[in-house]
């Protein structure tokens, strides 16, 4: 315990020393579950490997979403508590240099109880992934993955500078679970530094996930409730080993505008979007008609082309908020802030409004109803945060700097 505390202090001191020129400095702790805790839709619990913002507690699937601003200089530190193998972070799609690419042998890996830093810039707004590239076939399946969102400088509600604007966004990351790959002998395996190869099992997933959930777990977690006239930006990503085919109602007017962190030269209007492993798509929905139904994600086997599973996402477009009200945005001030934060809402969306504040690792640090009283943020440490304001099924995201 003392050794871990010492390492944490050394790591923290190193971060303080090295981050003077950085726009964002984050730390992820890579670790394993000691007890099965990730609950599947059938009630069974499995072990995970993963990344977390805390030393204690169980892991979440996927790992925290990381958000950066376009052209930010970023230092992403990793403290590996795997209890065995080295881990890495591959910044999938960010085109970082070789040293920071997270591929063992070509870059560096971080041994158990050690720390490492990835230094990079994020020049293109868009949706990316991160995952472990050490024995990647095992570690990615084990849960070592998450989403990276790079936001443009102009506004958080733009796809990119001079791109498309939207009112709200959803990020849906697809993957699968083969529970046989989550056995303790795999998740908690001993590390043999001389082993050049690794034997893996046949891959036969039984669970097909969106943001780590499936079947009834999607209710309340992965849904799309939009209001008439709302422009929704879907960030779709696939970190599994199956193909995904998302089928949306034509009334949502789905338009593919970006892929892999780049604008598409020709946008595609189609209610069906195919996302292969490693790919990301940005899809604008123009919710201009009432709708209540589902969006479907098919999971197809890349060897046979056959659909082996479908997941249904509840989709509702309701008309109880008019488009004129969408022009009214919540106002948050001051920013940067020190002790207090005010959120002013238009009258039409004051009812049942709530706010959550997350740190840059996606960890919720504050949650409360919005009133006319200031929000006390004095206990929060200085740094960058994401403020999520929710009301009547809508969500606004703002970046907050606490000094």
């Amino acid at each position: 315990m003392m050794r871990q505390l010492y390492l944490a202090l050394v790591s923290f001191a190193a971060v303080l020393g090295a981050n003077a020129q950085m726009d964002s400095v984050l730390t992820l702790i890579s670790k394993i579950d000691f007890q099965p805790s990730h609950e599947l839709h059938d009630g069974n619990q499995i072990l995970l490997m993963g990344y977390s913002s805390t030393v204690g507690g169980s892991l979440n699937l996927p790992s925290p979403t990381l958000e950066f601003k376009e052209n930010d200089s970023i230092q992403l530190d990793m403290w590996n508590l795997s209890q065995g193998p080295p881990y890495t972070i591959h910044l999938h799609g960010l085109d970082v240099d070789q040293e920071n690419d997270g591929v063992p042998a070509l870059s560096f890996s971080v041994a158990h109880d050690d720390t490492g830093s990835y230094i990079f810039k994020a020049p293109h707004p868009g949706t990316y992934l991160y995952h472990c590239h050490e024995t990647s076939v095992l570690h990615a399946q084990a849960g070592m993955y998450g989403v990276i969102i790079v936001r443009p400088n102009s506004a958080d509600t733009m796809t990119w500078d001079n791109g498309y604007s939207f009112h709200s966004e959803r990020t849906w990351l697809m993957s699968e679970i083969d529970t046989n790959w989550h056995h303790d002998t795999i998740i908690n395996h001993t590390y043999d530094s001389t082993a050049m190869t690794h034997l893996v099992l046949d891959y036969r997933p039984q669970h097909f996930l969106i943001n780590g959930k499936s079947e009834h777990q999607l209710v309340g977690n992965v849904e799309l409730f939009a209001s008439l006239g709302e422009q929704v930006y879907l960030r779709l990503a696939n970190i599994g080993n199956y193909g995904n085919r998302m089928i949306l109602s034509s009334v949502l007017n789905a338009q593919q505008v970006s892929s892999d962190g780049r604008p598409l030269p020709n946008t595609v209007l189609s209610d069906t979007i195919e996302i292969l492993p490693g790919e990301r798509y940005g899809v604008l929905l123009d919710c201009d008609a009432h709708f209540q139904g589902t969006g479907v994600v098919e999971y197809f086997n890349l060897n046979t082309g056959q659909v082996e599973n479908t997941q249904n996402i509840a989709v509702t477009v309701d008309g109880y908020v008019g488009i004129s009200e969408y022009l009214e945005e919540p106002k948050m001030f001051p920013n940067p802030a020190t002790n207090q934060l005010m959120i002013a809402l238009p009258e039409s969306i004051q009812e049942m409004a709530s706010v959550t504040i997350e740190n840059m690792l996606g960890r919720r640090v504050l949650e409360q109803k919005i009133s006319d009283k200031p929000i006390i943020i004095a206990p929060l440490v200085s740094g960058n945060y994401i403020v999520r304001i929710r009301s009547k099924g809508r969500e606004w995201n703002r970046k907050l700097i606490i000094q």
């Binding site: 190869t197 292969l276 046979t304």
Partner: protein, 283 residues
Amino acid sequence: MKALLIFVLLCPAIVNAAIVNESLYILKDSIVVSSGEKLPYLTFNASTSFTGTNARIVLSPGDVLDLWVHNMDASEHHFEIRGTTPSESILSGDSIHIIHTFLENGIHVFHDPLNYPNQASLGLGGMIVVRDHSYPSFYWNIKEHKRGQNDTVLLGGAVDWAHYSPDFFTINGKSNPYINQDSNARVTGTVGDEIYIYVTNTGQSIHPLHFHGYHVEVRASTRNPNHVGRMKDSQGIYPAEGVVLRLIPDKEGEYPVHDHNLVTTTGANVYPLGLFTTILIAP
């Protein structure tokens, strides 16, 4: 008048065009996969000597391909340039003669479509590249293989494609670490180079390739021509598809390219003996 206009428009290509004489020989032997096992295999070869890699034909726009395909195998085969020439039967010991003019830059897939995909799955599939440049170019013929299946096909048995679960994953018939020893496959260059990668998938699985370090531009796709111009770090290559990718590296380094169906980075369940190579860029 219209014919004259077409003739004038085609003149520049015709001036540089040539009649290109090529022969392909259908031969049967075997390849050694990452586990050390031998798989019975057939390929289209440039001579009467068997190689585990299908011959590649490179043309310039406007070239007339004068092609003979000789069946040196004991069984009947067919030959087709997908979307370009019809399937033609070639009996054992027989030959066919094809003449076709290729006007535009791009990539074409040729294969044996008999009892598709059974005969093609034995290895009979390659690429015709049409290009008007001399930039560094590399060629990836991607395929996967299932242990025992080629024996089944050769014996006339039924293949259960609905439960296809291949064991080996190759570029030009090779898996990691041997792909990097193939100078046609291993992408090398210097910062700022314009590099072209010609990719075919002559297998039956979809192969989503992921590029580390760089985005590549889709310059041609036989399946999705509307994807031309997209900048991608992850690009799916569908069965029987040909794709042309352009890479202009902006930094030095060695960066992996691999199938992001990570199961394919294995060979007979052993990681990392699968579809994994690296791009090497000098300053």
